[in-house]
Amino acid sequence: MVICIPRFNVYIPKDVSDALNALSQRKDLIPMGGGSDLLVLIRSGIVKADTVLDLWPLRKELAYIKRENGTVRIGALTTVSELCESDLIKDVRYAGLADVCKKFSTPFIRNIATVGGNVGAAHPLSDIALMLLVLNGKVKLLSKNGEREVNIAKFFKGKRRTVRNHDEIIAEVSFTETPPNSSTAFIKFDRRWGHAMGYVLVGAYMQLRDNIIKDVRIAFDSTGNPYPERVWTTEEFLKGKEFSDELIKQALNNVLPKEMKRITDYRASAEYRLDLSKVLLRRALLKIKSRIEGGG
């Protein structure tokens, strides 16, 4: 029996500084978090790897969820299971992350998939990255020469392409704690519940005061580019106005379609996806309102 297995070497670093040194000296290294995305791509021949840099030993330093001084910091090597078992997602403001957990793949993938890898995958169907967009999150990049923070809205460049330089690793994602009268929601729509990719994914954050939309951020799996993005014009349209059925109807019919370009593929047509985007955004906003008002 001949099976074609892609062959590659693995560099196992001792710690963060060893990993950064190796990256600065060698051009052939591809960082790997959990490998739930990368190993599949290597095996199917989409990514050619000479040497994989196994970041798992960095979990000693980069697996954590911290809430200090009004900022939530999540280490890049925190697994999705760890995020989903944390107290963070029990906070009603971050109920959108709990929504992500309910639909994120399967228990055994959640045990290996990392938060940093979800951002690094730069894929339209990166659920956590999408929620970080609506939480106005930042990605911390570390290299031998120092660190920099990039707003996640500026992090993606294309499908599986990000602004990360070769010698950098994603060390952390973070966001500012949101105000008390706010919440989030995430909806992934598919024919099945478990193990779903989603025809359309939407994430939203909203702050309401006296039924006025003080602030709102909305992101979809795609609005034209092959990575998740915010719908800035729709957000601007909603901001500062009173939350009502009529307002949402206007946003969905007159504003959203102008800034969203959907694709047709074997899974769904562009027309269907646009229609679904409207329906799901309405549901997400209603869900957030009910969450702020004490409902589920």
Binding site: I5, P6, G35, S44, P107, F108, I112, W193, H195
Partner: protein, 180 residues
């Protein structure tokens, strides 16, 4: 396994790892690109570890690594270095059935059985954390275990029965007394 051209023999040097599988220590030489699945199944002979899809989608290859359910098709063998692995072979002592296996037989859930090693370990991972799961919790815990024969509804019954056996202190049963 693939045929490696002679000139590449040195390009991917062997790495020696230690693994504790089902309570026994092993030293194995592995290639950097080999998966935990390859090592367990083809090098150590634990054929209860099945390869279905090889890409994290079917759950046939799952094992417990340091107590956590992982897809052995997406874990490189070098990453498993030093860890404790449980495969279906190590679930019960020789000649005995584990309560989970007994419950699956009692509920007539077994059809072809290909998915079973994975299903059994996924149930074990669930019951280790949660001795009395609800239907919803069972569905989530087994959401990654694809069963071509479609025994899904019986899995739910079986998990409840297994949980009951374990709560009653009946963890192992004689293989000879099992129905099926």
């Amino acid at each position: 396994m693939s045929v490696i051209p002679r000139e590449e023999w040195d390009k991917y040097p062997d790495i020696e790892i230690t693994l504790n599988v089902n309570g026994k220590d092993y030293k194995v030489k592995v290639k950097p690109y080999e998966r935990l699945l390859d090592v367990l199944r083809y090098k150590l002979g634990f054929t209860g570890v099945k390869e279905g899809c090889g890409r994290g989608e079917c759950g046939a290859c799952v094992v417990l690594m340091d107590g956590k359910l992982v897809p052995s098709c997406l874990v490189l063998a070098v990453r498993a270095n030093g860890s404790k692995v449980l495969t279906v072979e190590g679930l019960a002592p020789e000649g005995k059935l584990h309560a989970i296996q007994k419950a699956l037989l009692d509920t007539y859930a077994v059809q072809c059985g290909f998915c079973f090693p994975g299903v059994i370990l996924a149930i074990k991972a669930l019951l280790d954390r949660n001795p009395n799961p609800t239907d919803e919790e069972i569905k989530d815990a087994l959401s990654g275990q694809l069963c071509r024969c479609g025994s899904y509804l019986r899995f739910i019954k079986a998990v409840k029965l297994a949980a009951q056996y374990i709560r009653e202190g009946k963890e192992y049963f004689d293989e000879s007394g099992a129905r099926g």
